[in-house]
């Protein structure tokens, strides 16, 4: 692993809680690592588990999915579906040898700017520990 390796994290945030929470972190000028890039979706339930696979395949070293706290989903239940799907995916990914440190899920509400920072820090730190993702990365393979 190179000394100055910076993990590349793709995050999927629900519009109502986590994206708003990340915005709040901005408004509050809370600083956190720049390794994370956010894709906004309306609900964590929108995140197709295969996005995670796809992100790793296409160059992400880590993936984060964040939604509203259970019971607080703007769409009532979306985060429950997300939780079940991601729980299953995590088991599967680990089984095929993907480091669980590359994959995180969190509940961050619209008011938890500070929690967002902590979540990002943890995600980046763990992805850094896991090192560059080489597993089934598309480019590794004669592309």
């Amino acid at each position: 692993m190179s000394e100055n390796y910076e993990p590349n994290i793709v995050a999927f945030l629900c519009n109502w809680c986590s994206y708003a929470g990340a915005d709040l972190a901005g408004t509050s000028r809370v600083h956190y690592p720049a390794n994370i890039q956010v894709i906004r979706v309306m609900c964590s339930g929108r995140v197709n588990p295969l996005y995670v696979m796809n992100a790793l395949q296409q160059g992400a070293d880590g993936v984060l999915i964040s939604g509203c706290h259970p019971g607080d989903c703007h769409y009532m239940e979306g985060n429950f579906y997300a939780r079940r799907r991601m729980g299953m995916l995590k088991d599967l990914m680990e089984f095929v040898g993907v480091d669980p440190k590359r994959f995180h899920m969190s509940w961050v509400s619209a008011s938890e700017g500070h929690k967002w920072k902590e979540v990002v820090e943890k995600t980046v730190e763990e992805a850094r520990e896991a090192g560059p993702f080489e597993g089934f990365r598309r480019r590794q393979i004669d592309w």
């Binding site: 296409q58 160059g59 598309r138 480019r139 592309w143």
Partner: protein, 337 residues
């Protein structure tokens, strides 16, 4: 054409001389053999049986990059093919299959990718002493020691290999290892003949294709197609493992804003193979697809190139998950004629 003898004691030395030249040989991986590069210091053992995946991927890779480009840009970068290779231990049926496929790839236009790879490869065949359960090469003009398509044929005579050169490529190869070889005497030639005829005798399955190419059009609507295809899963096993199947699809694959155009094996047994953009599918069910597979091999190809596009390697029979057996289908076709 010359016949030389390689004592098996010199086998490692023989291999040693070739490994630097991009040598490939059958290798047991897991439960099945497949062609794989031979590493330095590695001495492959040639055993009975054939590779599960035919060596067609050596000249016709399952996925081949045609060129690369940037989205929104017209500049193309083509790959360069230049490395020569030696394919050691290819079975006569598979070599013969390449000759059959050559006709297609050099027919109306010359396919640069395929023909270049063909030019770069030297095929060193290995005659079969123990044919497989479902081999029927002898029914189709091949045989355990058929030389068609080979540059060099090796025949296992117990303590030595008989090496018969067939083409200048084969001769060139032999000349590089000539110090390991001795001239084969008539005794050895006789031994070979005996081995070959014994081997032919072990082939239990056969196809009587007389009249089939001409007769197939008449059976277009025959109920047999429905019954033989009813259990078909529509998977690509038979075609992907067939040494003469050569269909491909062309796809653009992107990653970010970069892209490549590539071609990859396709199978006429897949539903999308003939699916039109409109949603219409001229071969809507597995019946039409199965009928096409048989017709392509035993009728259309004969029409166009005067040869049956089947070499009797038996792979499709061995590996069909639902026991669809081409020999059995052809028997029914023959019966229906």
């Amino acid at each position: 054409m010359s016949a030389m003898l390689l004592n098996k004691e010199k086998w490692p030395e023989f291999i040693g001389k070739l490994t630097g030249k991009n040598l490939w040989a059958p290798k047991l991986e897991g439960e099945a053999m497949r062609f794989a590069p031979v590493a330095e210091d590695e001495v492959p053992e040639l055993t009975d049986g054939n590779t599960r995946i035919p060596p067609k991927n050596i000249v016709f890779p399952q996925t081949e990059t045609m060129y690369r480009f940037q989205l929104g840009d017209f500049e193309m970068k083509e790959p360069e093919l230049k490395e020569e290779m030696i394919l050691l231990g290819i079975r006569p049926c598979d070599a013969r299959a390449m000759v059959i496929v050559d006709k297609l790839f050099s027919w109306d236009v010359d396919d640069p990718y395929y023909l270049k790879r063909r030019e770069l490869v030297t095929l060193v065949g290995l005659a079969c002493s123990e044919p497989g359960l479902n081999c029927f090469c002898t029914s189709l003009g091949g045989g355990p020691a058929s030389t068609e398509g080979l540059d060099l044929l090796m025949v296992d005579l117990g303590d030595s290999y008989l090496l018969e050169t067939i083409t200048p490529k084969g001769e060139a190869l032999v000349s590089e290892v000539s110090e390991l070889l001795i001239e084969a005497d008539t005794e050895k030639i006789k031994m070979k003949k005996k081995m070959v005829s014994e081997s032919e005798g072990k082939i239990k399955r056969s196809v009587d294709h007389k009249g089939i190419p001409e007769g197939l059009p008449g059976l277009w609507e025959d109920p047999l197609w429905k019954s033989v295809s009813a259990s078909c899963l529509g998977c690509g096993t038979c075609t992907y493992l067939c040494p003469t199947c050569h269909c491909f699809d062309i796809q653009d694959e992107t990653e970010g804003f970069e892209a490549r155009r590539c071609r990859m094996w396709d199978s006429c047994m897949f539903e999308e193979y003939t699916l039109h953009t409109s949603g219409h599918n001229p071969r809507p069910t597995r019946r039409e697809r199965t009928r096409n597979r048989i017709n392509h091999k035993y009728n259309y190809y004969v029409d166009k190139f005067d040869v049956i596009a089947c070499v009797g390697c038996g792979r499709c029979i061995n590996l069909c998950p639902v026991n669809i057996d081409i020999v059995e289908i052809l028997r029914q076709v023959k019966e229906a004629l």
